[in-house]
């Protein structure tokens, strides 16, 4: 899929959105209740893998408005992200993680934390771990791909930086779709404003009158220049993760408001045999 195809797909899918658009009357409390009910139902049928939801590595830094606290599971999911202190930004669904679609073979591999995994990954291995970073490698069950994630604490600004190095272990060049996903619930609120740009996907609560204490947000940001500069952020009008081989099925044209949605950064690397392509994302407060 080319960059232009991506743009067109996003535009077309946006027309089908049922998410609220700016200017509509905000019905925060009923929307919150409906979102909570919907999310609980979605999670009820999922067989959670403890290794994909339990915190294995915790990182804390800063003070005051620079406080950052996040944790990484043994499988490389970030299931907690809080900045500044007292303002959680990732959902209690613990939905966060990574997806890879082998576009050559149309095989999907994913681990989205609380929303489960695709069951075709090998065991995750901790390559290294220190006070500010952890590196976790994981190979797909068929041995074709290895995803090595280096998750490092950033302090200025406070951030969790995720370097995703995707290695093609096969004897042929392969195309892939790679994505980072998060079920954002800014400041613990299920319904937020959402939008995306070329380099970022964002979920936030606006600074409005008496609600300023909740006026925080989460940014999922691409960092650096992706291979061929082919990357984009997009938002979904659902907290559920994307299907890696049909990633834009629930993408919507932003901005949307009062919506329980999710954020995605999307890449389309071409990886030659026994080579590695690196993509860098970061979570930040917004």
């Amino acid at each position: 899929m080319t960059k232009n195809t991506l743009v067109i797909a996003v535009l077309l899918l946006g027309m089908l959105s049922f998410a609220e658009t700016p200017g509509n009357v905000t019905r925060k409390q009923p929307a919150e209740a409906a979102a909570k009910w919907s999310k609980e139902n979605a999670l009820a049928g999922i067989d959670r893998n403890a290794s994909s939801t339990d915190c294995a590595f915790s990182f804390n830094s800063g003070s005051g408005f620079t406080t950052l606290s996040y944790c990484v599971t043994a499988s490389g999911n970030i299931t907690k992200f809080e900045t500044p202190a007292g303002h959680p930004l990732i959902s209690t669904s613990l939905g966060e993680g990574y997806g890879v679609c082998d576009a050559s073979g149309a095989v999907a591999y994913s681990d989205f934390g609380g929303f489960g995994d695709s069951g075709n990954w090998g065991e995750a291995k901790v390559v290294s771990h220190d006070a500010t970073s952890v590196q976790i490698a994981r190979t797909t069950g068929d041995g074709i791909w290895t995803l090595t994630q280096t998750i490092r604490q950033g302090t200025t600004p406070p951030a969790a930086k995720i370097v995703m190095a995707l290695t093609n272990n096969s004897k042929q060049t392969r195309s892939a779709f790679v994505m980072r996903y998060v079920d954002v619930d800014a400041d613990g609120s299920l319904t937020n404003n959402l939008d995306a740009t070329h380099n970022s996907a964002l979920g936030w609560n606006s600074a409005t009158g008496n609600e300023e204490s909740a006026a925080f947000g989460l940014e999922l940001q691409n960092q650096g220049t992706a291979q061929g500069d082919v990357s984009t952020g997009f938002i979904q009008d659902t907290p559920n993760p994307p299907a890696p081989c049909d990633a834009f099925a629930h993408s919507v044209q932003g901005p949307v408001v009062s919506t329980d949605g999710s954020l995605v950064m999307f890449y389309e690397p071409v990886v030659h045999s026994h080579k590695t392509v690196t993509m860098t994302t970061a979570y930040k407060g917004w």
């Binding site: 005051g64 408005f65 939008d195 995306a196 070329h198 380099n199 970022s200 600074a207 925080f216």
Partner: protein, 286 residues
């Protein structure tokens, strides 16, 4: 409750401030009311200090492609060009509006310089205290001698480039003072006058959504924990700079779309006689 300090001061001051921002008339409007035609330098009337310039005195550049950043600073300490990533300029469209404002709440006097949106004509000449490859320091005292604003502009390179501005405000009087300090930009994300805008506690943002023309944005963000009794980001429905004593005028509470607006970070500072306080903001593309 500290959040209300800024609002209270602004409301108290808005009816009695002695200085007005250039062109800052009209009540806070709706998103539709904020839509204005593209800006023009022809036939426009500047504010009282019509010699405020948009000419670049210092230009800083780093990175390439998606990590490219260029910004320039005028002799008076305005950032009138901000480009990031390569080819996506967010301020220098039509009249270049960017700068700083100070409201002396006790004396009910406002001081501002918003580049081509005018200044209040009550500033002295700026002096360059230091210039290096990645930074410049400019100091400027108000013509009544009451305040000195010392601005340090710093280029931050790397995968997530930014321009930081440390604003050190010194109270030269013999009495303790309460002030409002604002940073403002007439944001025209990716060279387009009409953008989406919104604000959180820690920032104010203007952007174009993914899937539309110019899918990039400009963020004006607080950095660190400011020594302020209150602070917040403000998204405004007009491109003109705010009156420093009424920064909430023309704010819109919520997500604004398709509007030629502006972004502001506002701080309420209590500064003892002869003392200084410093707040830091950051511009970055997203």
């Amino acid at each position: 409750m500290k959040q209300f300090v800024l609002i209270s001061i602004a409301l108290m001051m808005c009816s009695c401030c002695l200085a007005a921002s250039a062109g800052g008339s009209g009540a806070t409007g709706t998103a539709e009311a904020g839509v204005q035609p593209a800006q023009s330098k022809v036939g426009e009337t500047f504010g009282p200090g019509q010699f405020s310039s948009a000419d670049c005195a210092f230009t800083f550049t780093a990175g390439a492609k998606n990590t490219f950043q260029k910004f320039c600073v005028t002799a008076n300490g305005n950032v009138t060009v901000f480009e990031s990533p390569l080819g996506q300029e967010h301020i220098a469209v039509g009249r270049d509006g960017e700068g700083y404002g100070v409201c002396d709440v006790n004396a009910k006097v406002a001081y501002s310089d918003y580049a081509e949106f005018g200044d209040t004509a009550n500033w002295g000449q700026p002096s360059v205290l230091r210039q290096e490859a990645k930074s410049a320091v400019i100091a400027r005292t108000t013509s009544d001698g009451q305040w000195t604003l010392t601005q340090t502009f710093t280029l931050i390179g790397g995968k997530s480039p930014a321009a930081t501005i440390a604003m050190k405000l010194t109270n030269n009087t013999a009495g303790d003072r309460t002030t409002l300090l604002v940073r403002y930009a007439d944001a025209d994300a990716a060279g387009l006058s009409l953008n989406n805008l919104d604000a959180t506690r820690e920032g104010a943002f203007a952007w174009n959504s993914a899937g539309t023309t110019g899918q990039f944005g400009l963020a004006l963000e607080n950095v660190g924990t400011p020594p302020a009794s209150s602070f917040r980001g403000i998204a405004r429905t007009v491109p003109e700079g705010p009156s420093p004593c009424a920064p909430l005028d023309h704010q819109f509470q919520g997500t604004i779309t398709n509007t030629d607006g502006s972004v502001v970070m506002a701080y309420s500072l209590d500064i003892a006689a002869g003392k200084s306080k410093t707040v830091t903001v950051r511009y970055r593309g997203f």
